[in-house]
């Protein structure tokens, strides 16, 4: 069952696009975060695909880094969202427009 690398990459690309669409389109801050996670994970998938195809462990090591960074980023991001919620009583990003020029 040799899944061709191109399939994995195509999946990675599709996931990335879905994640990007989510970031751009959704209003809920948590959903945006989820989409960001989706993008990150799609990159992870691309890394794994290449690690498998070139039989190189470096790709997998990168995944570890990415996962760690994603976790840290989520922590910070969720803290920000909680803080915003305390101010605005809502996490609708469209309402955080006080920097409007």
């Amino acid at each position: 069952m040799n899944v061709p690398t191109s399939y994995l990459l195509a999946l990675s690309g599709v996931l990335f696009v879905i994640g990007a669409m989510g970031v751009l389109t959704r209003r809920n801050a948590i959903v945006i975060f989820m989409s960001i996670e989706l993008m990150l994970n799609s990159a992870n998938l691309a890394f794994i695909a290449f690690a498998r195809s070139f039989v190189d462990l470096q790709g997998q090591v990168m995944v570890f880094f990415v996962i760690a960074v994603a976790a840290a980023e989520v922590a910070v991001g969720l803290a920000l969202i909680v803080s915003i919620f305390r101010t605005k009583q809502s996490i609708d990003v469209d309402q955080i427009s006080s920097l409007k020029g």
Partner: protein, 697 residues
């Protein structure tokens, strides 16, 4: 002549510049300190300055005795252009020293007299503060006259010529706010200046012609070239001398420019005595005598000079007969006597002219000063008779309507002013030419010369002499004899010695002055021979002498029959009016010369000037050209520039720039929506752009 030939200040000659320096010093001191230090100081300073000049002149005389050819004393370089050299240099020779001695001597006496006269006059006219100014002008006059007679070149002489004209103007109009209508004195001064200027124009043209012909302006060089060089044609010499004659007629009051002298009597009497009798008016005769070389060569001009002199002598003598103002009689007498001198110079009798010039200075100054004494005496009488104060008639100009100059207001002053009467008599007899007084010898020399050279001139001068005797007799009889014809005359009194002593001095000179050139001894002829070419001693003509004396005595007798047998009463018209009839009116109105000049010259000129001023200058130039054309177009241009150019273009550019920036920024601001998702979208788009660039380059 180059200045290496100028005598290098030998001995006493080197003091000559002091003659000019002393009066200038006097006037400067009076200008700076005069007002503070009082009348006595001013008078003494001014008189001392002139006396010192006189002493220096005597030193020059002594120097000349040892060195009769004279010297040229260099003071400073003035103009040196190419070959033209005009220095400030004095020509000290017998002719100039004669003039200097006469001027400073008579001036000194008149200065002293003026101290007393002006003391009264400034109080009579009401401005005691003007005392110093008088003596400043007087000293300035003496300085200018000294420059005139001692110059060694035409240009320096012209400086003096103009200077005396200026001082004449200043002094005639000394009481500039007085006189008829509050302006008559100023007008008289202006008239003198303007008429003199016409003469000056003649002098200037002559000077230009001299420079053009001879290339130099120094006397010695010009005369040398005229006689020995071949540079000057007869026509040119005639032209030069005729233009000089114009200057002479202006300065020495001959026909046709004599009209200023009678009006000049508006000035204070010392001014009339000094300037218009003894000194300034003699400058013209000095000019002719100095240029005897040129006049000797241009025979036609000499004849013209002689004729003008003789005619003037005659006409002026007739006018004097009809005058009532005591000073005006003397003024016309001066014009007449100047005519004698000019005629003498015209016929070549230069020594006679100078002789008469000197003696005339003595007795005419004496007569004027005595007339001044009479006038002041009358003014004192006016005060004393209580007219000053309540009963006094002053019109707005402060002008008394009683005229102290009018002989009809005088009479009987013989007893009231004895000294003045005696000296006046001496002066009158001298003027008339009664031997052995000075006037006889000098006038007789002129008549003898005329008899020899030019009979028509002799006849004119002899008739003029008859009239002279007549009007002087008329004047003496009207003023001093009979009964006083007014209150002022009744109370007239003699003047203090500061005024009478100079009169006595001048009277003595009038008596002994004839000794200057007695027939046979002719000291003056010998003296002047060193300077003037071709002088010869006039032979004593017994016939002429006796005839002139007899005619003068007859004329005096006629005057006595008219005015002496029955003295003029108060309010009585002049008996001469009945005798001469319309002729008297002609004389009294001076042949209407002033009116004629006014009609022919003055009025057209004034209307021409008014035309230029009002129409051309004001209406055309100012109103039309300036206001309409220039001002309007300028304002229009300025408006266009401001509104048409500055506002739309420049402001528009600046404002437009700002507007562009504003609209751009407004549009740019639209990017800042504040929506996080928009920012995320732009991030995404940028990412795609960069990626496509990297992928597809």
């Amino acid at each position: 002549m180059n200045l290496s030939e100028v005598a290098q200040s030998g001995g006493l000659f080197s003091y000559a510049p002091l003659i000019i320096a002393f009066p200038i010093l006097g006037l400067l001191i009076n200008m700076i300190f005069g007002r503070r230090l009082g009348e006595r100081f001013v008078g003494i300073t001014a008189s001392s300055a002139v006396v010192l000049s006189f002493i220096v002149a005597i030193l020059q005389f002594i120097a000349l005795l040892g060195e009769p050819e004279g010297a040229q004393v260099m003071m400073a370089d003035w103009i040196t252009i190419g070959s033209l050299s005009v220095p400030w240099a004095l020509k000290v020779d017998s002719l100039s020293v004669t003039m200097i001695l006469m001027v400073t001597g008579v001036s000194a006496l008149i200065h002293i007299y003026a101290i007393g006269y002006m003391h009264d006059d400034v109080r009579f006219q009401g401005d005691p503060g003007r005392f110093a100014r008088f003596f400043i002008f007087f000293n300035l006059f003496v300085a200018a006259m000294m420059v005139l007679v001692s110059a060694n070149n035409y240009l320096m002489m012209f400086v003096g010529w103009e200077g005396v004209g200026l001082c004449s103007y200043l002094l005639i109009g000394f009481w500039y706010e007085k006189g008829e209508g509050g302006i008559a004195n100023a007008i008289a001064g202006k008239k003198a200046f303007v008429v003199n200027r016409i003469g000056d124009f003649g002098f200037l043209i002559a000077m230009f012609l001299i420079f053009w012909t001879f290339g130099t302006l120094q006397f010695e060089e010009v005369f040398h070239l005229a006689e020995h060089g071949e540079v000057a044609s007869l026509g040119m010499l005639t032209a030069i001398t005729l233009f000089m004659l114009l200057g002479v007629t202006g300065k020495s009051a001959q026909i046709p420019l004599f009209v200023w002298l009678p009006d000049a009597m508006a000035g204070p009497t010392p001014v009339s005595a000094l300037i218009h009798a003894a000194t300034m008016v003699t400058a013209g005769i000095y000019l002719i005598v100095r240029n005897n070389v040129l006049f000797g060569l241009a025979h036609t001009s000499s004849d013209v000079v002689a004729i003008i002199g003789a005619v003037t002598a005659f006409v002026a003598a007739t006018i004097a007969v009809g005058q009532f103002d005591i000073k005006r009689v003397l003024a016309y007498s001066t014009i007449s006597q100047l005519g004698f001198m000019v005629a003498a110079a015209g016929i070549g009798a230069y020594v006679a002219a100078i002789f008469h010039l000197v003696t005339h200075a003595f007795f005419k100054a004496l007569l004027f000063l005595s007339a001044g004494s009479v006038i002041v005496g009358l003014e004192h009488g006016l005060h004393d008779s209580g007219h000053h104060g309540e009963g006094d008639h002053h019109d707005e100009d402060g002008h008394h309507d009683f005229d102290p100059n009018d002989m009809r207001n005088m009479g009987g002053l013989r007893t009231k002013m004895k000294t003045t009467f005696l000296v006046y008599l001496v002066g009158a007899l001298a003027l008339t030419g009664i031997p052995p007084l000075a006037g006889f010898f000098s006038k007789d020399e002129i008549l003898a010369d005329a008899n020899q050279e030019f009979m028509a001139i002799y006849i004119l001068l002899a008739i003029a002499a008859i009239f002279t005797a007549f009007y002087m007799g008329r004047q003496v009889l009207m003023v001093f004899f009979g009964d006083p014809r007014s209150d002022a005359a009744k109370r007239a009194r003699e003047n203090p010695p500061v005024m009478t002593l100079p009169l006595i001095g001048l009277a003595i000179l009038a008596v002994v002055g004839g000794g200057l050139n007695l027939p046979g001894i002719h000291s003056l002829t010998d003296w002047l021979e060193h300077t003037l070419a071709h002088v010869h001693a006039t032979e004593f003509n017994l016939f002429v002498a006796v005839l002139s004396t007899v005619l003068a005595l007859i004329a005096i007798w006629i005057a006595w029959t008219v005015y002496g047998r029955r003295f003029l009463q108060e309010g009585q018209p002049d008996p001469l009016r009945k005798i001469l009839g319309p002729l008297f009116t002609v004389f009294e109105n001076k042949y209407w010369v002033d009116e004629f000049y006014d009609l022919i010259i003055v009025r057209p000129y004034v209307s021409l000037a008014a035309f230029f001023a009002d129409v051309i200058d004001w209406r055309f130039w100012h109103d039309w050209f300036h206001d309409t054309i220039i001002a309007r177009s300028f304002r229009g241009t300025a408006r266009w520039l401001a509104e048409g150019f500055d506002l739309p273009v420049i402001d528009g550019a600046a404002n437009g720039l700002a507007n562009v920036v504003k609209s751009f920024s407004t549009r740019l601001r639209a990017l800042q929506t504040g929506y996080v998702r928009n920012y995320a979208l732009s991030l995404f788009v940028g990412l795609i752009l960069v990626l496509s660039y990297i992928l597809f380059r």
